[in-house]
Symmetry: C2
Subunit: 331 residues, 2 copies
């Protein structure tokens, strides 16, 4: 494997040790697999907890900090975190105002977060849950009943985190999280597969000039295997699929062009130019934007386009200060 | 090619159109290839201009903004910008206090920046130049006489940019830029080659289990072709080479673990853990750190380790607010 790793069995532990060393302001427990923000003890604010399989970095651990998540529970690569781990993250950040669980819609994640929420409620911690399911590519997939949760998870965590930071109660934070999810859609494209370290072989095969349209973030199949096309045509497929599901004309959008892990930034900006052209030609405007590898799939090449139909209130919350390893601005 | 591009001839123009669309606060000219910060007109501060071949994004265009560069001049992929282009960037941001050119040590870059500086001086613009040459891997290389300029370019641009922002004169800004370069060293490793779009084939070949130790950021050869090893051993090679050139024991360091473009963040954090372990075992401390793909080489897999021996003053300037597409904090 062409990977910068030690023992494949230690990938998550080693990466968490690196996260701890690079970001001393976070409390990272590499053994028990929790990443916790330390500056909110006793603040009484609603706490946000997310998690899921590793291999999507910076999601979720890189989004722990002021204005976003209070804790993250990373599982093994492409594997759900276990309930005890999610419970540990939840109890660590609970400040009396309740906890919002942000869960991507994968069967294992949904089950384990539900079990953790029940355990937390046994300890008199109020938990609300938002399940993110923004991916329009397929209705059901390898790991889901219903749509997959992908790029919009970042939107939900940022905007709900801002709402919690300004003192909203659990119902209000959960409400804005659900609103963001309902107003968001994503579509991803893979130009190469990726390899789970413990498996040692690619999650799927692609021919020399093939791509997978509608890819999932674990390499699960999308809509169509096709020959590689110019970026503008790839973006057209993605935005046409999104627009068919949630009309974009007349909307002001938050747009994420997200690198999948192996595609360099120069290509992500080329894709963003194509997105900008497409939206201008279809009567939508870009109100806010983000370009970079934020919700990745190990070293998969390709990109995902995620959009959220903004309201003035959602734009205000997007602009609010954030200070995490992967997103920082304006504080 | 498994690339998210349109016509290979349009790669740089398309990427600059994307940069313009994503960052409306920058004035990007995709045809004349300049990226200019617009909020300093008439400020009278020293201006910082950098540039070089494209394919290293976010370097340099992603570093244009408050507290860092005033303008960047991107050439074609892995090709120096031309003197007229550098001159256009220089005149666009000149505010009366002179301009610092930050130049990576490649023959074409050095020549073209020198010519642009002479042309600027003909227009009574005072120009000082710092040549960055931090790469300890080789003494001369495919594109250089002397050492290559790589990851420390980010350190120079950030710290000199902070000094300019607080009103230092050209001599003082140039002095701190040279000081950072002299106190910095880098060493890179490639786990895969990369492909220049216009060429259509990899810049070099690597066997299935091979890596290149001491790689340059254009795929130019390093010190040694070796079989792929665990991350901790790769980091040991890099830091041993740096330490032999500039002893690290007893130093407080600014550390960058830099993804080369095709290596995902989870692996960069694994490398950072190894760097942290190595430094702890050799009597050096990590004062500041950065992990991410900042000085890339298209889709090359691998990483570069860059270190700068901090002083309290350099740490203060590193911590100073910055607001660019790729680096943002603290304003």
């Amino acid at each position: 494997m062409r990977k910068l790793i030690n023992d494949p069995a230690d990938v998550v532990t080693d990466a968490l040790r690196g996260l701890a060393a690079a970001h001393p302001s976070l409390r990272v427990d590499p053994e028990n697999r929790t990443i916790v923000r330390t500056d909110t003890a006793g603040s009484g604010k609603v706490a946000l907890v997310s998690g899921g399989g590793s291999g999507h970095e910076p999601l979720h651990g890189g989004f722990v900090g002021y204005g976003m998540l209070d804790a993250a529970a990373p599982g093994e690569v492409f594997t759900s975190p276990v309930p005890d781990q999610i419970l540990a993250a939840t109890t660590a950040v609970h400040g009396g105002a309740g906890v919002l669980h942000v869960v991507k819609n994968y069967t294992g994640d949904v089950l384990n977060f539900r079990m953790a929420a029940e355990l937390a409620e046994d300890e008199d911690i109020e938990v609300a849950t938002v399940v993110v399911n923004d991916d329009v590519a397929v209705e059901d997939s390898t790991f889901t009943a219903g749509r997959r949760g992908t790029g919009a998870t970042l939107f939900v965590e940022k905007i709900a985190g801002a709402r919690a930071e300004e003192g909203a109660d659990l119902a209000a934070v959960a409400e804005v999280a659900r609103e963001v999810n309902e107003r968001s859609r994503s579509f991803g494209v893979a130009l190469s597969p990726c390899t789970v370290p413990a498996a040692g072989r690619p999650t799927f095969e692609l021919g020399e000039n093939e791509m997978e349209l509608g890819i999932g973030i674990h390499g699960e199949p999308g809509r169509e295997r096709a020959t590689i096309r110019p970026a503008a045509e790839i973006v057209d497929v993605a935005l046409t699929a999104i627009d068919a599901d949630m009309p974009l004309a007349g909307e002001e959008l938050l747009v994420l062009v997200n690198g999948m892990g192996g595609t360099p930034l120069i290509e992500q900006y080329i894709a963003f130019a194509a997105v900008s052209d497409w939206l201008a030609g279809h009567g939508a405007t870009i109100g806010r934007s983000l370009v970079g590898p934020y919700v990745t799939s190990l070293e998969m090449a390709g990109c995902m386009v995620s959009v959220c139909r903004l309201t003035p209130e959602l734009a205000r919350l997007w602009d609010a200060p954030v200070e995490t390893p992967a997103l920082r601005w304006g504080r």
